[in-house]
Structure formats: C-alpha cells, structure tokens
Amino acid sequence: MLILKVIAAGPIHGYAIAQRIQHISRDVLQVRQGSLYPALHRLENRKLLQAEWKPSETGREAKFYRLTARGRKQLESEADTWNHLRDGIELIMRNAGKEAL
C-alpha cells in the first residue's frame, strides 16, 4: 500500500521510492532493497504498475514505475481496509481500559 501510494504521485524509480518513504515517515520506515524490488516486480506482474525506461534526473536511464487504473483501484481498496483497521485499533486503545474499570 505504501509503495502504491508513493507511486500514485507520479512516475518514480525504485531508489526514489525508498527515499521518499523514508523521508515522509521521518526515518521511521525504511524499505530495504531486498523487499522493495521483489514487491515492485510482483506488483508489475499483477498489472498494478506499469514500468518504462527513461532518463532520470541524473541523465542516466532508469526504470520508472507508474500506477495503472487497476493499481489505483487496489490502492483505494487497501486504503479503506487500513482505515477500518486503524479505527478499530484506536477504539480498543482508547476504550478498553475504561470498560475494565
């Protein structure tokens, strides 16, 4: 979901995805290369991402990923699931102690 969300902003290559996740989460989350690239390839195989080679900001060719329509739907679905889960956890953390008393 995090990868899809970062890519949703526009075409981006693997290194920039890892950097952006780390930067936005203020170094709380770090994506290792061993997890990032297999995940990107899996998402590409599932047609959630589309990849193309084009020059990067340094002028060198890089593989840029962008979200497909199917990927966008998947992102919305996963974001909904996450919001439900987060609300449930928040309710438990807020109210579980009060009910016990």
């Binding site: 693997g14 290369q33 690239y37 297999p38 390839h41 195989n45 080679w53």
Partner: protein, 226 residues
C-alpha cells in the same frame, strides 16, 4: 513486458534487472559521496547497506509468474531427453528376442525402463523424485592398481551411458548375503594384506557369476581406465 517476452527473452530481462539494481546501487554511492565519504568508503558503505545483490535478484525472479513455467519447461526437456534414451536403447540394444546385447546398459535388459528414466517422469509428475537410489555405494575401494580387478568390480561400477545421470550400484538390493560378505571381507582383508601386494580371492559363488555381479567387458568400472 508480455509473458512471451519474459519466457523467451530471459537474457534481456536479466540485463534489465541488473541495470535497475545497478542504478540503485550507484545512487547510494553518489549519496554517500555527497555526504563526504571517499570513493572507496562510499562504495563499501553502499555495499553493506544494499546487502546481497544475488539474493535480491533471486527474489525478483521468484516473484515472477514465469518462474513456474520455466521450471515446467526444464522438467519437460529433461523428461523428453530421458524418454528418447529409452527409445534409443530399445531399438538398438535388444537382439530381437528380448535379451540385452553385449553393449546394453546394465540397468536395462531392453524390456524395462531404466530407473533413472522413470525418475525423470516422476519428477515431472510432481513428486520430486528420489535420489536415494543414486547414491554411491558406502564401501568404495581405494585406488590400488595392483589389486585384483575382479575384486574391485564388486565394489565400484559406474555407468557411463548417457541416459544414466547418476552412478549407482545396480541391483545392489538384490545382491546375495554371500556377496555382501565377500565384499566386506575383501575390503578389510585388502587393507591388511595390501603391504604384501596380495589381494584375497573374491567370492566365486554361483550368485557372483551372475552378470550383474561380475559385469561384462563392455562395462566401464569406476575410475579404471579399462
């Protein structure tokens, strides 16, 4: 990239994967250099951070659905090769009455499928095969050219036919107790007698005169240059 391109353009896929990971690595080196590290230090640090490149590549390959198809094709090729070997032997090595001709494979009398071939079919069927029958015999002779060649034949025989990818002691499970005893006796006795250069007589029982025990001159044994 289409599944067709992935399957038949594997070199291209591999080159692109290499390029993608190399780009990431070089970006990390640049970042370290900008942070004030020397070239060597920047590379070393990036290498540590990146981890095993081959592991990442392997995981990327595993994430591809083509992987399963590739493995199935490998199994198909293997099974076809083995089956063609069976057909070749049936046509060439039988003398017309179902007996093996002198250059016949010792595992195959012309009527049965060699176990190595049946293994390939089993592997294709998904049971993974069993290597246990292909293991080397536990008792092996030491290299001693003065030792009795016939005695050595009781210990090592390695098939060099193309269809047998694994050497194995043929029909070892059927070997008589007499032969098993003779083998051990010969092995231990040889160690004892070896300084005098005399090897004890190998077992001459009726069982041992069976062609699978004595073998024929057409069969190459172990590492011997016979």
């Amino acid at each position: 990239m289409s599944w067709w391109a992935r399957l038949f353009g594997r070199d291209r896929v591999e080159r692109r994967l290499d390029a993608e990971l190399q780009f990431h690595f070089d970006q990390m080196v640049d970042r370290n250099r900008r942070a004030g590290m020397s070239e060597e230090e920047a590379r070393r640090s990036a290498r540590l951070e990146f981890g095993g490149l081959d592991v990442v590549k392997e995981e990327c390959r595993d994430s591809s659905r083509m992987r399963m198809l590739e493995q199935t094709m490998q199994d198909l090729r293997y099974a076809a090769r083995m089956l063609s070997c069976v057909a070749y032997q049936r046509n060439r090595n039988t003398d017309g009455v179902g007996r093996a001709s002198p250059d016949c494979h010792p595992h195959d009398d012309g009527r049965n499928v060699p176990h190595c071939c049946s293994r390939s079919v089993g592997r294709f069927a998904g049971n993974g095969g069993n290597n246990s029958t292909h293991q080397q015999p536990s008792v092996r002779p030491q290299a001693d050219r003065s030792a009795d060649a016939r005695g050595r034949r009781l210990h090592t025989r390695r098939c060099h036919r193309r269809c047998c990818l694994y050497s194995s002691p043929p029909r070892q499970q059927n070997r008589s107790a007499c032969c098993a005893t003779a083998r051990v006796t010969w092995s231990t006795a040889r160690t004892r007698v070896e300084p005098h250069g005399v090897a004890p007589e190998p077992c001459r029982c009726e069982e041992c005169n069976h062609r699978d025990h004595n073998g024929g001159d057409d069969v190459r044994w172990g590492n011997q240059a016979e």
